[in-house]
């Protein structure tokens, strides 16, 4: 019943030798995003309520077999570039809101791994996988080894942007971003919702951002929502940032018909939005999952569907997501598996 007991954390890397791999269970629970053969942007938002046991939607913040390796990858990235963490001075209430959100969720959902004891403002936090045992005073920054948001941000998988709400808009005033699909927090910090979505093709014309912003401004505490987004990445690399483009950009032309199955990964982001109580800010979590084309091929339904989505993809989206160099190779690689038979709607593997 409790997944936590069975998580075997992997020793693996997301850089250099790229030893990252998925267990059969991790492939099975992969949040495959395509319910239909065609993909176009939509305001595909649903309530972030607990999903099926074992699925990535089961808990508010998902922890899986890659937890330790992802935390380590984040530590390396922050060490090389501390600017991947930004918190503007007026976001201190939001920092503490994040401490509460992370510690409460993890200790409630994974009691074997994380423990939180509260006595008024005196909190005691135990993170067993990372070997952390910390007593601190909630609201008093001097009792933690670093800023509160950075402290908890280093103990979760996935990136976070925390937005301040003012002037009927949302501003990206805080974030910890080390596994981004080619966007930069240092560039976007302080921007309004439409400013930082400016580069996204097609969606603005569809009026998506007007509607999404209106919806988000009304998001209530206690009623988080989620959506899936996706792109593709060559090699299982978390830090595909513009800052490090020289390190990973050239990989995009390294894909061949022989290595496409192992090299190309579908990168799915489980994006959740939480209203924060004390600050009235909005936390936006971007939790990435990587599965190689060979991983996905385990399930013929997914292989067929992915091939069709990539075949039908609008050229603007293909370019924006950076797929142009290898999209056709993936399509060709999956072609023998696609019998053309109609697939029923849905994202399920079998």
């Amino acid at each position: 019943m409790n997944m936590a007991k069975t998580i075997a954390f992997k020793q693996e890397t997301f850089r250099d030798d790229y030893s990252y791999s998925n267990s059969a269970e991790a492939i099975r629970r992969f949040p495959f995003p395509f319910a239909e053969d065609e993909y176009m942007y939509s305001v595909n938002i649903e309530q972030h309520t607990p999903g099926a046991p074992g699925s990535v939607f089961e808990h508010a913040i998902d922890i899986d077999e890659h937890y330790l390796a992802e935390c380590e990858d984040r530590r390396i990235t922050l060490e090389n570039d501390p600017g991947r963490y930004i918190a503007l001075p007026h976001m201190m209430d939001a920092q503490w809101d994040m401490v509460e959100l992370v510690m409460e969720s993890l200790s409630r959902d994974y009691p074997d791994l994380f423990e939180l004891t509260r006595d008024g403002d005196n909190w005691h936090w135990v993170n067993k996988p990372l070997g952390i045992d910390q007593k601190f005073v909630f609201g008093d920054e001097s009792t933690l080894p670093m800023e509160p948001f950075e402290y908890v941000g280093r103990q979760v998988q996935g990136d976070w942007v925390v937005m301040d709400q003012r002037d009927d808009d949302l501003f990206a005033d805080m974030g910890i971003i080390t596994s981004q699909a080619d966007w930069s927090l240092a560039f976007d910090a302080g921007m309004s919702f439409k400013e930082w979505h400016g580069p996204v093709p097609q969606a603005n014309e569809l009026g998506i951002f007007d509607r999404a912003l209106k919806y988000l401004l009304h998001l209530q505490y206690g009623s988080p929502v989620r959506r899936l987004n996706w792109t593709m990445t060559v090699n299982p690399r978390l830090d595909t940032s513009p800052e490090e483009y020289p390190l990973w950009g050239p990989d995009n032309v390294s894909v061949t018909a022989d290595n496409v199955g192992q090299k190309v990964h579908l990168r799915v982001e489980l994006q959740a939005l939480f209203r924060l109580p004390r600050s009235n800010a909005m936390a936006f979590s971007i939790r990435g999952y990587l599965a190689s084309i060979d991983d996905l091929k385990t399930y013929p339904r997914w292989a067929k569907r992915l091939r069709r989505v990539l075949t039908n993809l609008h050229p603007d989206l293909s370019e924006y997501k950076g797929l142009d160099n290898y999209r056709q190779l993936v399509i060709d690689y999956l072609a023998p598996m696609d019998d053309g038979a109609e697939l029923e709607l849905g994202t399920h593997p079998e």
Binding site: E100, D164, H218, Y221, S223, P277
Partner: protein, 317 residues
Amino acid sequence: MSVLNVKVAEVEQVTEVVKHFTLVQENGEPLPHFSGGSHVVVSMDINGRIHRNPYSLMGSTANSDSYHISVRKQENSRGGSVYMHEQVKPGTRLQITYPVNLFAISKLGRRHILIAGGIGITPFMSQISDLNRLGYDYELHYAYRSPEHAAFREQLQEMCGDRVHFYVDSEGERLDIPDLLSHQPLGTHVYTCGPEPMVKALHLHAKNLGWPDNHVHSEEFTAPPSGDEFTVELALSGMEVTVPGDMSMLEAMEEAGAEPPFLCRGGACGRCELEVVSCDGVIMHNDHYLSDHEKAEGRSIMPCVSRAKCSKLVVNL
């Protein structure tokens, strides 16, 4: 929408017309934290008809043991405030929404001027607990009718020290809004909550003095005005709902079993906005959300407070 089941722990008669209710969670758990300026919507079952009224949270934001709301008994009440005054006693169980904030302090403001009229003082009380905690520069200007209506005066003196200024109308004390606004440094934000003429005056004077719109904040919840009976057709579900004269369009749709979205129920937030497909009469816009231009266009309606003078209104729901 997430709701909280609370019970009334205490009722205090603050002035002749204002009662202060202390709410605690029924299961004994602490209540969710909230930010200064937030409100909750309280559901009341009045003779089998559900009324939902928004009330500002006025307790300290540091306190999660209880919520505090105050209700002024309205002379032309549709029942909500009278019910709160006459029927709600210690021990009464109520259902409230999670807190929502439509009246937040701008965290980038250099200075904050708060202007309250009468019962409009309530959202400022939780804002002040945040302003004090954060050490922000602020002033509170609180105008009320007469000494008998001086709700929370002592408490405010204690909270604000020399930052609070009182204006007692019956003693000839008037708040000079243009004078107050014209002496503020750049970077100041002004906030008001109170009777409609006061809110309108503030916006007008601020505009005349060249204040940027996004430095002028107000909160005004309107009670749904009554009117003539009309019929609403919900185009997507094909439902047809009669809206009686003494019920809001939102309430009538809910009673008929539809589940339209809503948040503040006072015409302020915009969440319940519905697209108007057709109307064979006039829409009576009563909200503070749509611009004058949008109201004139008549393509949207806020069913929480607005209605129509027509035989049939068709909306996209």
